[in-house]
């Protein structure tokens, strides 16, 4: 498409054309109406004047006969800007007046007539311009004829002036309108083109690109701002996705390599059934671990995409704390840890019960893994406290332990997928527990924070009581 063709196709330009046409038609109608009415008004004026003069002159004739009429007409005809007069005998012989060269037969019919004529003074001076006039022929008693008329040139001149003014103004309206329309259209088109250009670079993989915002706050700006927000979100998601695939590649490859090595080793050097069996057993164990990691990843991905948001119900957070505490209590006891639950029913919360339970379970599991018996210091056993309490319009689910804690600098990082601090590499686990808890919290419009329990770690899942608030705008 050519640049001009593109310009003509824009909505703005089409709108300009429509407005221009409507406006021009309206102006033409207005001026036409004005011209016609002016003309009609002038004609009426002429008629009135002529009628009055005829009445006056026939009165003079009645009073003083033809002689008096001729004198009066002569004197009136000589005034500048006078009307047109002609007095003739029955035979058509001119007796007085300022008109000559009337078409033959003009005087035969009494009444109104539009006619051409020459002025007597001009004819005597040798000039012969033809004029138009509106005149009335009046038959006087005694066979004399009287013609009184007014020149029409003035009327026509005025009419023509109005008409030409109309033509010009319409032409100017069209030219200015078109120019304005083109200007506006080009401006809009330029901005749309810039947006198109940006989207094209974004589509080519340049995810950091943003639509230009002119800063005028108009509708295009609003559109651009919203699209930019959307792009922002997409970029974050894409970034997350890339990070996940990188991490998956890294963290799944390790156990896969181990698995493969073991199978290979068994094929190469196993000597009896027992050894084969052992190799197969460890293969199954390793693949179970892989499946577990994979499931956790899927779960996080789904929680992050907000997919599970439909599955929300109202339940008692205290009950969840008690249930999870109860599930882990024997395990804690086996490790010499005291697990306590502090939660008063009811603590109503709206959310996905299963996911919140799992998030809390992950935190407890985490604490049990890393909790150190405090007896090193004062002989008291290690403690883990699970709490559910409401604070303002939020519900806090916390797990506090007396373990080594997490250095402040690392607290943000451990929530990421697969991040396990160096000192914990020896512990079993996928490194996904905290990321899942964090994803679940975010799904519900809340957050996971890790703080110092002095000593130990305190993990807090803070959730809005009424479930996630839909993000507006």
């Amino acid at each position: 498409m050519t640049a001009l063709g593109k310009l003509f196709r824009t909505t703005t330009f089409k709108l300009t054309l429509v407005y221009l046409t409507v406006f021009a038609l309206f102006a033409a109608f207005l001026l036409g109406y004005f011209a016609l009415n002016t003309r009609r008004l002038i004609t009426e004026q002429i008629t009135d004047t002529v009628n009055a003069e005829i009445t006056g002159l026939s009165e003079q004739y009645r009073l003083g006969g033809i002689r008096r009429l001729v004198v009066v007409v002569d004197s009136r005809a000589r005034r500048p800007g006078s009307s047109l007069y002609l007095v003739t005998t029955f035979a058509g012989e001119s007796l007085a007046g300022n008109v000559t060269s009337l078409p033959p037969g003009t005087l035969d019919n009494p009444g109104w007539t539009e006619t051409v004529y020459r002025r007597l003074d001009e004819a005597e001076a040798g000039e012969h311009p033809e004029h138009h006039a509106l005149a009335r022929v009046f038959q006087l008693p005694g066979g004399f004829r009287l013609l009184v008329g007014r020149d029409l040139d003035e009327r026509e001149r005025l009419y023509n002036i109005v008409l030409s003014a109309g033509r010009w103004s319409i032409a100017i309206v069209i030219v200015l309108g078109l120019a304005g329309g083109l200007f506006v259209t080009r401006r809009v088109l330029r901005r749309v083109d810039a947006m198109t250009e940006t989207t094209r670079t974004i589509m080519h993989g340049e995810l950091g690109g943003r639509l230009p915002v002119a800063g005028t706050g108009d509708e295009l700006d609003r559109l651009a701002e919203n699209l930019n927000l959307m792009l922002e979100r997409i970029e974050t998601l894409m970034h997350g996705l890339k990070e996940v695939s990188d991490n998956i590649a890294h963290d799944l490859k390790t156990p896969l390599t181990r698995l493969r090595n073991r199978a290979e080793q068994a094929l190469r050097s196993a000597e009896n059934e027992t050894e084969y069996r052992a190799a197969l057993d460890s293969t199954i164990e390793e693949s179970d671990g892989l499946i577990r990691t994979f499931n956790a990843l899927l779960m996080i991905a789904r929680a992050e995409s907000g997919h599970t948001r439909d599955d929300m119900s109202e339940f008692d957070a205290a009950e969840i704390a008690h249930d999870v505490g109860e599930l882990y209590e024997p395990l804690a006891e086996e490790k010499g840890i005291v697990l306590k639950v502090e939660a008063r029913s009811p603590t109503p919360l709206k959310g996905n019960r299963e996911l919140i339970s799992q998030a809390l379970a992950n935190l407890v599991d985490n604490s049990i893994k890393y909790a150190q018996p405090r007896d090193l210091i004062n002989g008291a056993p290690a403690e883990i406290t699970v709490c559910a309490l409401s604070e303002g319009d939020r519900i806090l689910l916390t797990v506090a332990d007396s373990g080594p804690g997490i250095p402040e600098a690392d607290r943000g990082r451990v929530v990421e997928r697969f991040v396990r601090l160096e000192q914990s590499r020896s512990q079993p686990g996928s490194g996904l527990g905290l990321s899942l808890a964090s994803a679940v919290a975010r799904l519900h419009g809340g957050e996971l924070t890790l703080t110092d329990n002095q000593p130990g770690l305190k993990s807090i899942i803070a959730l809005p009581r009424g479930g996630p608030v839909q993000i507006a705008g």
Binding site: R277, L327, N362
Partner: protein, 251 residues
Amino acid sequence: MATYADISGRRPSRRTAEAQPDRVTMRLLVIEDDRDAADYLVKAFREVGHVADAATDGDDGLAMALDGQYDVLIVDRMLPKRDGLAVIGALRAKGMETPALILSALGQVDDRVKGLRAGGDDYLPKPYSFSELLARVEVLARRRVGRSEETVLRVGNLELDRLSHQVHRGEEEITLQPREFRLLEYLMQHAGQVVTRTMLLENVWDYHFDPQTNVIDVHISRLRSKIDKGFSQPLLHTIRGAGYMIRDGAR
């Protein structure tokens, strides 16, 4: 070394000491479009003594299920011609109540709920272990007998009264926590059958996630210390590679 998952068919003599499930021959239908997976399942089921057939698409599966007199159907979620849920729906519409276990690669909570709502009786996400599948199928087949209606469950000299919530072993009364009671109740409902950790987590705790560390094992060992400690004949057995089973070993 021998495990419950062992499908080799060979039964080494040293295994006789281990508890064996009371296995009744079942007629099973596997509806699965992946031929390898279907063959593997049919072979594995036959090796543990069941009769198994396979269908590779939804239409065939439905036709076979309608006149096959099967005890349990194992239905893949996504099938050519007719979706797994549609197969179960069509069966239920015809008044067939054959228990159906859904296998699905989707494996998420809402997907499970959808499957159960469509008329499935159990749900197992892929990839699964055969021992898990077998345990669930056997539980489904046995469910028809209606054992869960009994008010007093007995295994050997262990007795659980579901109304008074009392448990006795012989003359001795055993005190259990509420959750331990439910755990024992579930195990005794399926006495003689293998119950996996996931099944326990789902049915006793109502959780459908994987609690990473094996918390169930600790609960079981607690329960075991209460019901088996001090008795010469243990009732609660660990089935390696599969799960647990409560069974009167004296029979």
